[in-house]
């Protein structure tokens, strides 16, 4: 669909970006120490840090991807929410306190605290960079996706705009400004999702008698876009979709329910009939054609598992394993994400780390509950773009008012800023503190450490922009699943065994991180999903049985660590960590 750019959205977004960049410059006006740049002096208040956890974690994938998945496929998007939140339990109960007491600036510090080994620092720094880059891709793609309807500018402009804003935020005041940007973003996101949810409930559900004629979008070999055979224009465009066909019988002839309570909303939706749309692609001499057709379905079908993860209903074992593997990776992945882990160094002690995690879980949990309603609200809003699942949330807002659309789009865009700045910060620490200072052994004074971190941040910003443009045609939550798989496979076995198994050796850690990372990466590159969506090959050509590697590669990391540790002699007991 074509979108009109909204001046209100542009001004809201521009003022937000100017405000956060201005804030960054203000926070960074004093000279900085390395502890200030990398860990915000360890002086962030636990509540601020808790909301910043939410701002760091609730990425474009959470907001846009999950809403879109629920809007188009029903319940299955909520499974991502459940997995994303469950990961915090591992972070809080197992990882938070030891990582706080062992490390200083980066996750490699914590893993290496006992051994002082360059090999550990090198392997962990590389895994940090790989995970951060895989996580960055969907964020940047999301930014590009949003700029199209928001400002009417091309995808690449959105990517570059976010890249520049984030690099400025990180370079001016490092972790201090990153924290504040994430705090502001986290609060705005949860607040406005709450506002939108209450508007959905107040509107209730309404039967919509939109046209159910199939629609075709074609791209000719010359690159012209046709809708139902005619050139695409503002007046001749794909119709918005996603409607309610019938209310439950108890409403009789009424076409609208009026305001509903949250549980009432869910239960009425279950008894309603809903029209969802799906596209089918074909190619011939006149170009590529996607035909979108409607299906009327019972609410009960949409609100049970199996709409997106088809394997849950086909009964094929490989598909079931694929799903189990994803849910395991989401559970284990959160506590292994470098940009989340570094946030534990910004508070003063273990008690503060604990309190901020609880605040984080509360904010993130509330957000995911709201997302369920946003997704279902979008499903029946009659405003969905059949070509883009990622636009569901902003278009839902548009079905209420243009101003709300502007606000939600601006917030979605800033969502990207918060998460990307955290990722660039984690990558900058890995390059400057772990690689340059500790692995290459280049001595640096405090000011040089900060300068080196800033140079790394600029470099990472440029890499992020390039990747955001290259990977533009992906569903964003799909990619985040990859990042979680790699993080969980590379980092979690090393982290857990180091903390709880005294016979772990440095060789064990190095090999677990390296094998976990390479195995999960190789598996992903060979998976059916990648064959189909990246290389454009047949799914059947893939040599691996299912797409998500976690179920195999997470245990593999543990086994490699145990075997290698037992084979290598434990070093004489050093100082206790």
């Amino acid at each position: 669909m074509l979108y009109e750019s909204s001046p209100v959205a542009i001004s809201i977004f521009a003022s937000f970006v100017l405000a956060v960049v201005g804030l960054s410059f203000w926070l960074g006006r004093k000279g900085q120490s390395a502890k200030g740049y990398y860990a915000a002096h360890g002086e962030i208040h636990w509540f601020i840090n808790g909301i910043a956890f939410a701002g760091d974690y609730l990425s474009a994938a959470s907001f846009l991807g999950i809403c879109g998945m629920i809007a188009f496929h029903g319940f299955d998007g909520f499974l991502y929410s459940i997995g994303f939140l469950a990961g915090w339990i591992v972070a809080l109960f197992v990882i938070a306190e030891p990582i706080k007491s062992l490390g200083k600036f980066t996750f490699a510090d914590a893993l290496d605290a006992k051994y002082n080994s360059r090999g550990i620092k090198l392997s962990v720094a590389i895994s940090t960079l790989v995970v951060s880059i895989f996580y960055l891709i969907p964020q940047m793609v999301g930014a590009g996706d949003l700029i199209v309807p928001l400002l009417g500018l091309p995808h690449a402009v959105g990517v570059i705009l976010v890249g520049i804003a984030v690099t400025l935020i990180v370079v001016t005041a490092g972790m201090v400004s990153t924290t504040w940007v994430q705090f502001i973003k986290g609060s705005l996101l949860v607040f406005f999702c709450g506002v939108l949810t209450s508007m959905i409930l107040a509107r209730g559900l309404t039967v919509n008698t939109g046209s159910l004629e199939p629609q075709t979008r074609s791209v000719t070999p010359e690159g012209r876009v046709l809708v139902d055979g005619e050139p695409q224009t503002r007046d001749h465009d794909l119709r918005p979709v996603g409607t309610l066909a019938a209310l439950p019988a108890r409403y009789g002839d009424a076409t609208t329910t009026g305001p509903l309570g949250p549980l009432e909303y869910l239960s009425v939706l279950e008894d309603s009939r809903i029209v969802t749309w799906s596209g089918k692609k074909s190619t011939d001499a006149s170009g590529t054609h996607t035909v979108y057709t409607p299906t009327e379905r019972a609410g009960t079908d949409l609100l049970k598992p199996g709409g997106y993860f088809k394997g849950l209903t086909t009964g094929k074992l490989a598909d079931k394993l694929d799903f189990a593997s994803l849910m395991l990776a989401l559970f284990c992945g959160t506590a292994s994400l470098p940009h989340i882990l570094i946030r534990y160094y910004t508070v003063k002690d273990a008690a503060a780390a604990r309190k901020s995690t609880v605040v984080g879980i509360a904010a993130i949990g509330a957000f995911y509950v709201l997302t369920l309603f946003l997704g279902l609200g979008a499903m029946t809003s009659g405003a969905l773009d059949p070509t883009s699942t990622n636009m569901a949330a902003p278009l839902l807002a548009k079905s209420f008012s243009e101003t709300l659309f502007a606000v939600i789009s601006a917030i979605a865009f800033t969502t990207v800023l918060g998460t990307v700045s955290g990722l660039i910060m984690a990558g900058s620490g890995a390059v400057a503190h772990d690689l340059v200072e500790n692995v290459l052994g280049i001595p640096m004074d405090d000011a040089e450490k900060v300068r080196c971190g800033k140079i790394a941040a600029v470099g990472l910003g440029i890499v992020a922009m390039a990747l955001g443009i290259l990977f533009r045609s992906f569903n964003v939550s799909f990619l985040v699943g990859w990042a979680f798989n790699i993080a969980a496979s590379a980092n979690l076995p090393a982290l857990v065994m180091l903390l709880f198994w005294p016979r772990t050796t440095k060789e064990g850690i190095i090999s677990a991180v390296t094998v976990g990372m390479l195995a999960s990466l190789t598996w992903i590159l060979l998976s059916a999903d990648t064959f189909e969506k990246v290389y454009g090959l047949s799914r059947d050509a893939s040599p691996v049985p299912f797409s998500q590697p976690g179920l195999v590669t997470i245990p593999l990391g543990f086994i490699v660590l145990i075997v290698v540790s037992l084979l290598t002699k434990a070093e004489p007991k050093g100082k206790p960590a």
Partner: protein, 92 residues
């Protein structure tokens, strides 16, 4: 091969290791809830279509329940840690 939780706690705080043991207990409770739910999704999705709570099906109710349980357990953990770290409330 022994699992030694206490070893990596900083000494000096009252009850080192006890906080970690509480954390572990709560962790396993959640593991059972979470993977129990995943098992239902995988093997008995028909159960999740039941609607015992006023029209909301079990799939959604248990999803919301898992989110609420995460928050509840984390609060329990925070309070329990504060109690073991300050016997008699003498901390600070």
């Amino acid at each position: 091969m022994g699992w030694n939780v206490a070893e990596h706690r900083e000494p000096g705080i009252n009850g080192p290791g006890r906080a970690a043991r509480i954390g572990f207990g709560l962790f396993w409770i959640y593991v059972i809830l979470y993977f129990g739910f995943i098992a239902l999704v995988l093997f008995r999705p028909d159960i999740l279509s039941n609607r015992p709570f006023g029209g909301v099906n079990l799939a959604i109710a248990s999803g919301l329940g898992l989110i609420a349980a995460a928050l509840l357990l984390s609060v329990v953990y925070m309070v329990a840690c504060r109690m073991v770290e300050s016997p008699g409330g003498e901390r600070r």
